[in-house]
């Protein structure tokens, strides 16, 4: 059981709706009004420091780890420098929108419309992006669901892992300031580059001062509250908080508690600086263990106290909310901030890395059932049986956690991307399923690409069946295709075109990020940025990877090509005219044909007929994506990630030859199309493992639903562990399971009040089932539940 204190905070987390705070945006805007004309990194750093000086400090009831991003406990902030127009357009609807609603009052709306938005008019990243993007690309890539990268021009990048081991715990922000000053003193040559570096170091000093000031304000606040506190126990806790915040994050932490508080202040700094997606905690069990061990050995802290602090951090990570547009929310549903936290795996020198904290992290998620952190485990082939049991035991609780990753495949993905072996062994997850490393700058979810749309355009002369608009390239009348190869060629032609627009759109966004939104605070958490004096936006990290293109609809597209190949050209059971007419009619009046199409082999059943088509497509995608270079000269990377992108991308594609109806979801990552993996989960695993997953350095994702009966017993859990190991030995990277019964999910739909803490896996992450829109819930229920036989 959790302690009373944690339970109270947990109840708050479950029961309160996120509210929007404009405080950060207000201070940020006022600061920018005062710094007109100054260098952009300096302006952003000053705005950050002003925010740290002025933002209301709030210590909520019972908190052990402190630091709030606004006045509300469950709080989202605004970042108008990235985009304000969507907020202006959508905020009247914030509390009513279907996916991820927020509370915002009329007074708040009035204030931001009068005092914040006018300043940013014409200056925001979004406006500049839309003004600069070529019309031809905009038609394909702006709010279409075809090529979608709006999270990279309406939002900050995030997608970073602060380096606790080599930067933050070693130096503290005080040490970072001293290091920046030292570097500045040594920049003697008068060059344009050095001027830029000086600006960078100045900006880092400002943000570091900012976060220290914020902590000191918390220290004062805690001391003040302690004076008025009647309860002796709480009084002492507040005094302890005051003491910790006076030292941390200025100085390196000494105790576990201090290290935990430093982690949270780093998150708060990251959030205030840019409202980031995927600000990852990283390898928590590795960088926290020395502090844990020391405190336990010296009797500074008990194991129970450590567990409570971990749970307190989990709740803090879950309370802040990523404020996003309705469009982005469709792609990233469930108030998810994607703060990934990775445990297990191997050490830098290749030994088993699991320790007590690895287990305690799993325990914390089981106990508090928060959707954050995005708990990931790395499983290697010699992983201790106890740890694998702890993992499958958590799976059996039906939280959808943890995301289970192959240690070896993650390593290989980074080796393929050019990492040194010991760095590759030290990988952590970013966001949902991206192998990442704390000395890396990259865009891990740069753009979503709708594979199935490419097939639609190939078979519909470049036109969309849904909008009737021409989005694809010219193509001949589909009824004149004479061979499967011809269809395939037409598909790949459209496919290449979508990739081309993805790259164009990303390059434009990258250029604007460099110009407009340097990231001094987060750059200060990255070793090489500090030593070289180069911001993350200018590729200052040790490793800079090209942006990741995420493919959506691999299964649906492969299944559809299989139907065309088999029914039209091999068996000649149906003419292409009839099939096209059936697509045009959304299968209405063609149910007989649809049933025949449904019987053609489907990806996810270990059937080479269709799996071979998927393998070819995945390999082709890798080669095509890698042709392009990003703004820093790095190859683009490919991924088959999930997020919730298979829903919005499905809405914009008409009926498909595989039997899918217009508007229905596509398929996520390397997962089968929902309900079409009718054999066994083992067959689904084998299909997914056939794809050469380790070349897709942006990550691959497989979601399966398991009947809860299957993992109810210890034996069942061990069997699942063995299945996972077999899957990984085939070269696969990730699998995650939902083990809730369909019955439970239906009950939760009927009585959401009683199921507020029911976590389900959406795609690369888990979230509260009741926080999902009805259509999202239905999509989850539709995933095949693999029955135990």
């Amino acid at each position: 059981m959790v302690t009373d204190r944690i339970e109270k905070i947990r109840q708050n987390y479950i029961n309160s709706k996120p509210a929007i705070s404009y405080e950060r945006a207000r201070i940020w805007t006022e600061s920018h009004k005062k710094t007109e004309g100054e260098a952009i990194p300096i302006r952003r750093a000053k705005a950050f420091k002003d925010t740290c000086e002025q933002l209301k400090v709030q210590i909520f009831d019972g908190e052990l780890i402190v630091g709030a991003t606004g006045e509300f406990r469950k709080c989202g902030i605004l970042t108008p420098e990235f985009s304000w127009t969507w907020v202006d357009r959508e905020m009247d609807n914030f509390d009513k929108r279907v996916q991820d609603p927020y509370i915002m009052t009329d007074e708040q709306r009035k204030f931001v419309r009068e005092n914040i938005f006018p300043y940013w008019k014409g200056k925001s990243l979004e406006e500049m992006f839309l003004a600069q993007l070529p019309e031809e690309t905009a038609r394909v890539a702006v709010d279409t669901g075809i090529v979608d990268n709006d999270s990279k021009w309406r939002q900050a990048v995030g997608e970073i892992t602060p380096d606790y081991q080599d930067v933050l715990f070693k130096k503290g922000f005080g040490g970072i300031i001293r290091e920046a000053q030292e570097h500045m003193r040594n920049l003697n040559d008068i060059t344009a580059e050095n001027i830029k570096k000086k600006e960078f170091y100045e900006s880092v000093i400002l943000t570091s001062e900012g976060i220290i000031i914020l902590a000191h304000r918390y220290s004062e606040k805690a001391r003040e509250m302690a004076q008025n506190e009647q309860d002796e126990i709480r009084k002492n806790e507040l005094l302890k908080i005051a003491e910790i915040c006076s030292r941390i994050p200025e100085n390196p932490p000494v105790t576990f508690y201090e290290a935990m508080q430093l982690v949270w202040f780093t998150q708060v700094g990251g959030i205030l600086s840019e409202n980031p997606l995927a600000l990852n905690v990283g390898r928590f069990d590795q960088f926290m263990y020395p502090y844990y061990k020391n405190d336990i050995e010296k009797g500074i802290m008990t194991k129970d106290e450590a567990q409570e602090l971990i749970e307190a951090l989990w709740l803090k990570l879950s309370e802040w909310v990523w404020t996003i547009s309705a469009n982005t929310a469709e792609f990233f549903a469930g108030y998810n901030q994607f703060q990934n936290l990775t445990v297990g795996g191997k050490t830098r020198d290749g030994k088993d890395a699991t320790n007590e904290l690895s287990y305690m992290a799993l325990k914390a998620t089981e106990k508090v059932k928060t959707h954050q952190p995005g708990l990931s485990v790395r499983i290697h082939q010699d992983c201790p049986g106890d740890f694998l049991d702890a993992v499958t035991n958590l799976v059996s609780k039906g939280t959808g956690f943890p995301a289970i990753h192959s240690d070896q495949a993650g390593y290989q993905m980074l080796i393929n991307a050019g990492y040194k072996p010991e760095d590759a062994r030290d990988w952590n997850n970013c966001g949902c399923v991206v192998p990442h490393f704390r000395k890396t700058g990259e865009w891990t979810s740069a753009v979503n690409i709708n594979f199935t749309a490419a097939l639609e355009y190939a078979l519909n002369r470049g036109y969309s069946r849904i909008t009737k608009g021409k989005i694809g390239l010219d193509e001949k009348d589909p009824k004149s295709f004479e061979s499967y190869e011809e269809v395939e060629e037409a598909f790949y032609k459209q496919f290449d075109n979508l990739i081309r627009h993805s790259v164009i759109s990303t390059l434009h966004a990258q250029r604007l990020h460099k110009e407009l939104v340097p990231r001094p605070f987060l750059s200060s958490c990255i070793e090489n940025c500090l030593s070289e004096g180069v911001d993350l936006v200018d590729a200052g990290a040790k490793y800079n990877l090209g942006p990741v293109l995420t493919g959506i609809g691999l299964a649906v597209t492969s299944n559809s090509l299989a139907v065309i190949k088999k029914l039209i050209f091999e068996e000649k059971a149906v003419s292409i005219e009839t099939l096209i007419e059936a697509m045009d009619a959304n299968w209405e009046g063609y149910e007989g044909l649809r049933q025949i199409a449904l019987k053609v082999p489907k990806y996810g059943n270990d059937d080479d007929y269709v799996d071979d088509i998927a393998i070819k497509m995945a390999n082709y995608y890798y080669n095509e994506g890698h042709k392009y270079k990003d703004i820093n000269g790095n190859n683009f990377n490919t991924a088959f990630m999930g997020i919730s992108n298979y829903l919005p991308t499905g809405k914009v594609v008409g009926a498909t030859p595989c039997g899918r109806r217009a508007g229905e979801p596509l398929s996520e990552g390397v997962s089968p199309f929902a309900g079409s993996d009718t054999s066994t989960p083992l067959a689904a695993l084998r299909s997914a493992a056939k794809l050469n997953q380790d070349v897709h350095s942006g990550g691959t994702l497989l979601n399966l639903r398991l009947n809860e009966e299957l993992v109810k017993t210890k034996r069942g859990q061990r069997n699942l562990g063995n299945i996972i190991q077999a899957f990984f030995s085939l070269g696969a990277f990730h699998v995650q399971f939902n083990t809730i019964s369909t019955e439970t999910l239906r009950k939760a739909q009927e009585n959401p009040e009683n199921y507020k803490d029911l976590l389900v896996r959406v795609a690369g992450y888990s979230t509260q089932f009741v926080n999902l829109s009805r259509s999202m819930q239905d999509a989850i229920i539709a995933r095949t539940a693999h029955e135990s036989m």
Partner: protein, 250 residues
Amino acid sequence: MKACNTGFFMSPQNFSVNDGDGIRTIIFFAGCPLKCKWCANPESQSYNNCLVKEYSVEQILKIIERQEIFYRSSGGGVTFSGGEATLNPDILRELTNILYDRAINLAIETSGYFNFEEIKDILEKMDLIFVDIKHMDENKHIFFTGKSNRIILSNIKKMKGLNIPIVVRIPVIEGANVDDHNMAETAEFVKENIDNPKIELLPYHSFGDEKYEALGIEKPSRNFKAPSVDRLKELKKLIEKHGVEIVSYN
């Protein structure tokens, strides 16, 4: 070895976790010498129905090959079941020899109704034998299954000499064999005739009813019922009292 035999099977079942250790593939042979009134797999009682298909040894091996990776990690393997696998000894032998040479863990689930000498070489290659005792009373056995239990009981005695782990399975059916007397006698027999005596209780279920419908034949009597949870607990105690271990693959 070149495989050339074919035989009649129901759909092989991958990802079975209840018929032996680890993750297993169950090969269901069609055809059965018994006609149990409660049979859950009525399609197994003939070779000629919509749920039975002819497979070559090669086809069966191909199915198994795709699952081997899961046996390896889980300590699983292949379980021969039915129907009654030993009713088709040639193809059973061929499969057994090939899989044995590939070091795949093998189990058989049998009614015990076979000619021991004829299939002894097959049984010797098993890692685990599941054998049913449906009733100790000969007349009742004949009544419920159509055959005497004498051969079955004598075969179980002979199996002892094989030095292979044996689990005796009892289908626990209210209205057939669930009385204390029969259960005590079964336990005693198992204790006397098997080293490391183990019994697994399989409570009756009516999941087979759909198959009866699909085959268009009459369903089992309504008098057959699953035992209550409490009754199962009592039986467990009763059997353990006789010095027999109760095991479960659930």
